[in-house]
Amino acid sequence: MNMRWFFYLVLLCLPAIPAHAVSPDPKPFGPGSMKEVAVAHAGKPFILAFWSLSCAHCKANLEQFGQLLRQHPGLSLELVSTDTPEEGAAIMATLEKYGLEKLQTRVFADRFVERLQFEIDRRWRGELPRTYFYDASHQARTITGRLDATETERWISANYPQTSE
């Protein structure tokens, strides 16, 4: 068998590699996505966190989320990168570093960023990191910047009594 045929055979086998071995691309976050996210968590608390590859302060929060998910596997966390879909590989590589690659993650997929921000929060000008702690009635506690671990734990205890000690 020459090399070319061997290469085609390898290509044929690729779909057989388990899905979790290859990180999927982030799902696009476009107009209407905010509504979808809210509907997906209807009547339930969740954390919605915006971050970017170009934001130094975001990494500390990603690190904290990685730890939180290990302690509270039932936590609903939605991560949205405000980078571009073209940066999907870099986004996934960063998330993998913090053990967050298995989460459903999204990326801004609209250059008209103001429109996306407006659907999320009319007062958000894009400062990062930006985290929304939605309770079951979807009232949000909004935090710009680095998260306080104690405050986050307190929110989890109040909103996820079953997963906390």
């Binding site: 073209e86 870099a90 008209f112 103001e114 009319r122 000008r125 894009g126 400062e127």
Partner: protein, 410 residues
């Protein structure tokens, strides 16, 4: 000590080392086992023309623009207020990663004898790293010199967000955010908050630059610097600073080699975050400093205008403007003496618009706001430029291209 005080103390202690070493150690992690494919990211960004450009008028009313596309910085001009443009002239002979993303944009400045000066931030292989680059044309924009790097520290760290200015005598100034002091501190295992502000000058029309000089330690890391010439022809830089551990208020400094920086705002926005939202300064012939900025402190949040009549010794009470529920942001200010103009961006749920307000008494009272232009697509920050004694809005939009609009019809 009450229990909650212990909590606060513990939280503060826990935050301190982390806050102080915010960026540098993460960079190393970034380039660890799974490095980002910066080449691929760059290729992806090349496919799109950058929205972030700069325009300026020359003495004859010709409009000049510096734009970025496909790894090249291009210069073009228009003799009919932006309706039609000349062919593009490339500045850099080989493609570079030219930062053009809102707070980072190519700069163009016109000197005497039809000299044209260009500066930009060149992105490097590591996240948050860059060099300050400069090129000039001595033949009215027909050709440009090969770009040179102005920062004399050449580590692959952040030298970014430059601002450029020229004095009436023709001395060129470049000021930027620089992490060389953070780099030194990190190598010694010491903490260093934020970045530093550095500048360089040229007295030979950009043929050579002075050694770099520090203006201040502890600037915020990712907000543009704004620069304006005072009435003595000395530039004043205005930037977001970090006071104490994480209070991100604005500072200004006269770049005369010895004036200390002064705190210009007191909004007390305490935050470990990247606002990506610099302010703007303009100084009219009367020497009054006019400032606009965004802050988001608990007591005072939104856009503000303030002025200083005495070179930064005293400041007016800040005047708020803009609709907070419409994302009011990215303000610019232009003073033409008693006439002062302010523009900013808003979004109403459908369209992004540029709003304006103006003053005819040096910023004491204001008319407006009024809506100058709108677009139903992506757009750059709005900029104000002067054509003789008229103020123009210059706004790059994805759908309509460059919008050039007289702020008050003559």
């Amino acid at each position: 000590m009450k229990p909650y005080s212990w909590g606060l103390l513990l939280t503060a202690l826990a935050c301190m080392p982390a806050a102080a070493t915010a960026e540098a150690p993460r960079q190393t992690l970034e380039m660890g086992a799974k490095p980002m494919d910066m080449g691929k990211m760059w290729q992806a960004s090349l496919a799109r023309p950058a929205l972030s450009s700069t325009t300026t008028f020359d003495a004859s009313g010709r409009l000049w623009q510096a734009t970025v596309q496909g790894g090249y910085l291009y210069v073009r001009h228009s003799d009919d207020l932006g309706k039609t443009f000349s062919a593009l002239t490339a500045v850099n002979p080989t493609p570079e990663r030219i930062a053009a993303d809102g707070e980072n944009r190519p700069k163009i400045l016109l000197g005497s004898r039809s000299n044209i000066y260009i500066s930009y931030t060149q992105s490097l292989d590591k996240p948050f790293s860059g060099h300050i680059r400069f090129s000039r044309s001595l033949d009215g924009g027909k050709s440009f010199s090969p770009p040179v790097t102005v920062n004399d520290n050449r580590e692959v760290i952040s030298h970014r967000f430059e601002a450029m200015g020229i004095s009436p005598e023709g001395r060129l100034y470049l000021a930027w955010l620089d992490k060389r002091d953070l780099s030194v501190a990190t190598s010694k295992g010491e903490a260093f908050i934020g970045a530093s502000v550095y500048y360089a000058t040229s007295d030979d029309a950009g043929a050579s630059f002075s050694p770099n000089q520090k203006v201040a330690d502890h600037s915020c890391e990712c907000c543009r610097i704004s620069m304006a010439m005072d009435k003595d022809g000395v530039p004043v830089a205005f930037w977001r600073h970090v006071y104490g551990q994480n209070t991100r208020d604005f500072a200004l400094a006269r770049l005369d080699g010895h004036s200390p920086s002064v705190r210009a705002t007191h909004d007390n926005w305490q935050i470990d975050a990247c606002p990506h939202h610099g302010g703007s300064i303009s100084i009219g012939p009367d020497g009054v400093y006019h400032l606009v900025w965004f802050n988001n402190g608990p007591e005072r949040h939104g856009l503000f205008y303030g002025s200083s009549p005495d070179g930064g010794k005293t400041f007016s009470v800040p005047t708020p403007f803009g609709n907070e529920d419409a994302q009011a942001g990215h303000p610019d200010v232009l003073s033409l003496g008693q006439q002062v103009f302010v523009v900013w961006k808003e979004f109403d749920g459908k369209e992004a618009s540029v709003q304006e307000m103006h003053s005819s008494d040096g910023g004491r009272s204001w008319f407006g706001p009024g809506r100058l232009a709108a677009t139903a697509g992506a757009s750059d920050h709005p900029m104000l430029i002067a054509n003789q004694d008229k103020a123009y809005l210059s706004w790059q939009t994805e759908k309509e291209g460059l919008r050039l609009i007289a702020v008050i019809q003559p």
